[in-house]
């Protein structure tokens, strides 16, 4: 999961328009018009928080750069379908033992060949605790991860990885996971050239990759100002550059970037600032886009709060959920710019189902909500001394308005004390969540790392999972997740994931609110702008006009 700097949104009306570009996949009106390939595209970015090493980057600013400079075994197309990059084939018979064969003749931009070791060494480096890589948990499925990642461990390799020859390596997982190959397009799984391990800090300043772009020169990363990328002529694959370079201009806030966009000083802006949501379609006309992506917004309610545990807690959670008028809030506050949630995942994903049994718990129904609340009162009376609060971080994103709206919905429909609780900083909220000292609910935004239902379920709701803020634990749910992962095909797996979701819809460890939508725009100098499944523009496809 990567934390997004700002919240993003969508309009229900726009979904129809969206699905045109999303489902069309660039085969119809979007993405095929002729443009010049000699333009350098200036896009908005944010300062990468860490050295540009794939396993130490866990936020969108650095992620966008890495995705262009490196190419993994797979990449994802606009709809999130995996497509081979470095991989010739990824084969398995039992969803636990994988044999990965690489394409021939691939090189890094320093001339080194991309070999099996490039992957294996990079993954081992990422997993080993002694390297303290932020994305190390991505390797958790691989056998030997626990030994390598344990606190204070000096083990440098995972036993599940084995190099067979230059172009082949095998991976053994600690349990069968049918959706594991889907993850391989995520940045943590990118290969690294040998030079990266000699001096990782220096490498992170001037990374050498194998992707469609490369650094324009040593020092192309001018911190907090811009990062200049030029096409890598050696690259051959699905993401070949259609322009003469991409320059990420780093902005401190989106409002400023928007001023640059409407005066044609910036070519592509991926997030329209909240203050301009109401007029960006007027300002930009044809040059604006609303594109749903794999992200959602929820409110997690911890089980260690006495009012919210047990049978009474479950009824109260359902009552709260039914007291929230999602249609009205997405309409009024987001100007019709978000889509009310029907499940715990996101509509752009393969296997998404809006009509799961239990999804009626996410529909506005104040009468039923009152009834459920009254039933809960009969079991255990609501402890008024600990009224519900909904926490949000006030430093990034714009959460206050919608939290207040949700608070008012609950207050008016159930007649109980509820309040919004701003945290000054993101880290303050996170620390309380980690240390189990939350005194109320906490908003949680989730953006998928890779296009899979499991990515929205396992890391957040499985017993003991890293982002399980609610401290939810349901053996049936866990079992269904395990079954889903062990399924022999992704389709069967998705079915099991959706069965598991039925448990969540019943228990509501978190209350899903809405799905995220990217709202962006581009200048009159560029063409062929399309947003991917993760809300990031497909930079390589943008052309000049």
């Amino acid at each position: 999961m990567r934390f997004t700097r700002t919240s993003k949104m969508l309009s229900v009306a726009a979904i129809a328009a969206l699905s045109l570009s999303a489902c069309g996949g660039g085969s119809n009106e979007s993405g095929t018009s002729e443009g010049t390939t000699d333009a350098v595209i200036v896009v908005d970015g944010s300062e990468p928080q860490n050295p540009l090493i794939p396993t130490s980057t866990n936020e969108v600013g650095g992620g966008a750069i890495l995705d262009l400079v490196f190419a993994g075994l797979l990449s994802y197309d606009a709809e999130g379908k995996p497509q081979n990059e470095m991989a010739e084939s990824i084969e398995t018979e039992d969803a636990q033992n994988y044999t990965i064969t690489l394409k021939e003749g691939k090189t890094f931009t320093n001339g080194d060949p991309v070999t099996a070791s490039s992957f294996v060494d990079a993954w081992n480096y990422g997993a080993a605790a002694k390297n303290a890589q932020l994305s190390s948990y991505f390797f958790e499925s691989i056998e030997g991860y626990d030994e390598a990642s344990a606190e204070g461990s000096t083990v440098e390799t995972m036993s599940g990885l084995e190099v067979v020859d230059d172009r082949t390596f095998t991976v053994k997982l600690s349990q069968p996971e049918s959706d594991w190959p889907l993850r391989l397009g995520y940045s943590a799984f990118y290969p690294l050239p040998a030079v990266a391990f000699e001096d990782p800090a220096a490498f992170g300043e001037n990374p050498i990759g194998n992707g469609p772009y490369m650094f324009a020169s040593e020092g192309a990363w001018q911190h907090n100002q811009q990062i200049e990328l030029v096409p890598n002529d050696e690259y051959e694959g699905p993401q070949e550059a259609q322009n003469a370079g991409v320059t990420f201009k780093i902005y401190q806030n989106d409002t400023t970037a928007y001023q640059d966009l409407i005066s044609d000083n910036l070519d592509v802006l991926k997030t329209i600032p909240t203050s301009d949501i109401k007029n960006f379609k007027n300002d930009l006309g044809e040059r604006s886009i609303e594109s749903p992506y794999a992200g959602n917004q929820t409110i997690a309610i911890p089980y260690y709060l006495p009012n919210w545990d047990g049978e009474a807690g479950k009824l109260r959670r359902q009552a709260i959920s039914m007291a929230i008028n999602r249609d009205e809030i997405t309409d009024v506050i987001f100007n019709g710019g978000r889509e009310p949630a029907k499940d715990f995942t996101a509509p752009v994903l393969d296997g998404y189902n809006a009509d799961l049994p239990g999804s009626e718990n996410l529909e506005y129904n104040p009468d039923e909500a009152k009834k459920l609340w009254a039933e809960a009162e009969k079991i255990t009376p609501y402890d008024e001394s600990e009224p519900l609060t909904i926490g949000y971080n006030a430093d990034k994103g714009d959460h206050k308005t919608w939290v207040e709206a949700v608070v008012n919905n609950i207050k008016n429909n159930l007649g109980i004390e509820v309040a919004g609780k701003p945290y000054a900083t993101f880290k303050e909220a996170r620390t309380e969540a980690t240390e189990e000292t939350l005194t109320g609910a906490l908003r949680a935004g989730w953006q998928a790392d890779y296009p899979s239902l499991y990515n929205f379920l396992g890391p957040i709701y499985a017993t003991g999972a890293g982002s399980n803020d609610a401290r939810y634990s349901n053996p049936d749910f866990d079992q269904q997740l395990t079954d889903g992962l062990a399924a022999s095909t992704v389709e069967e797996g998705n079915e099991a994931m959706n069965t598991a979701q039925e448990e969540l819809l019943e228990d509501l460890p978190a209350i899903p609110l809405w799905y995220q939508v990217a709202q962006g725009g581009w200048s009159s100098n560029v063409d062929n702008v399309e947003f991917g499944w993760n809300g990031v523009p497909l930079y390589y496809a943008i052309t000049g006009k």
Binding site: P48, Y137, T255, S263, T425
Partner: protein, 308 residues
């Protein structure tokens, strides 16, 4: 005089120690674990958290952390921020831009403030005086981010006289607009201070004497009235330089200037202790130096003031 300056420099040492200790303690007391900011929403594994804590000395108690930092400073090693970059490099990157911006703003506000204030003071109650007073009142009353966005929109987006944002090079022409915005509020204060001071001094005995002596009006105004009226203004400008260096967060944000204010803001949000302390200490030193300069200017402006 030399001894006075040396003594003032020696006074910087306790100021430095006290300031670093206080700021370090404040950052240390901020709620929330610093590694939580580094790890993001999904968090890190315990192994990674332990590694990060060790790397940034977060596993040590407050005194050890502070002494380690102090030791670094005394050996000219400010350490790295939470992104792993040397703090000295970051300060060297952002400081020149902010210094340029602050000096430009200072020059603009001082020049226009003093000239307008002088004219208004000499023509007290006339139409120029009244309109300038109303104008300065409006500038003081309107929040700076409104002024900033308004001028950015009008001049940068609509008229396109300049880019709405400042590029990495931060050239003189690009910085002009933000400098004007930054200087506007202080301009109003300088104007009002100068005006009041002039009005006071115009009727002073020594001015009457100077006029009676047969000096030209020009000489009376510039050498006698203005010079004596500048002391409060200089005091204000000296303090303002410090404020402009560190307090330009809003303006720097609006015009996307990669400066000290923005860097400090980000560091505070991330609980990046060493980074915050380094920048704040740096600002305090600048503030002290600006104050010293102001004190020395007093002596020049008013010969009655002597330092020994």
């Amino acid at each position: 005089m030399v001894w006075y300056i040396v003594r003032r420099f020696l006074q910087l040492i306790p100021v430095f120690l006290g300031a670093t200790l206080l700021v370090y303690f404040l950052v240390f007391s901020l709620p929330g674990d610093a590694t939580a900011a580094i790890c993001g929403e999904r968090g890190c594994t315990p192994g990674v958290v332990a590694g990060l804590r060790e790397q940034y000395n977060l596993d040590q108690p407050f005194w050890i952390q502070y002494l380690l930092y102090l030791k670094g400073v005394l050996t000219f090693d400010l350490g790295t921020n939470f992104s792993g970059r040397p703090i000295a490099t970051i300060i060297a990157e952002v400081f020149p831009t902010t210094a340029k911006l602050a000096v430009m703003a200072l020059v603009i506000e001082a020049f226009f403030g003093i000239v307008f204030g002088l004219v208004a003071g000499l023509r007290k109650g006339k139409i120029f005086d009244s309109s300038v007073l109303v104008l300065s009142l409006i500038v003081i009353a309107v929040p700076i981010f409104v002024l900033g966005f308004l001028m950015q929109f009008l001049i940068g987006v609509k008229l396109q006289w300049t880019n709405p944002t400042v590029s990495g090079d931060a050239t003189f022409t690009e910085l002009l607009l933000p400098a004007v915005v930054l200087g506007l509020v202080s301009f109003a204060y300088v104007l009002r201070l100068t005006r009041t001071s002039i009005i006071e001094n115009v009727n002073a005995d020594y001015v009457r004497t100077a006029t009676a002596k047969g000096l030209s009006r020009r000489r009376v105004v510039v050498v006698h009235v203005l010079r004596n009226s500048l002391i409060p203004v200089v005091t204000f400008l000296g303090a303002d330089l410090g404020a402009l260096m560190g307090g330009a967060i809003v303006t720097e944000g609006i015009f996307n200037v990669n400066g000290v204010g923005n860097t400090l803001y980000r560091a505070v949000l991330n609980g990046d202790g060493p980074m915050v302390v380094s920048i704040v200490t740096f600002l305090i030193l600048i503030f002290c130096l600006a104050n010293l300069l102001v004190d020395l200017l007093y002596a020049w402006l008013d010969p009655r003031i002597r330092y020994a």
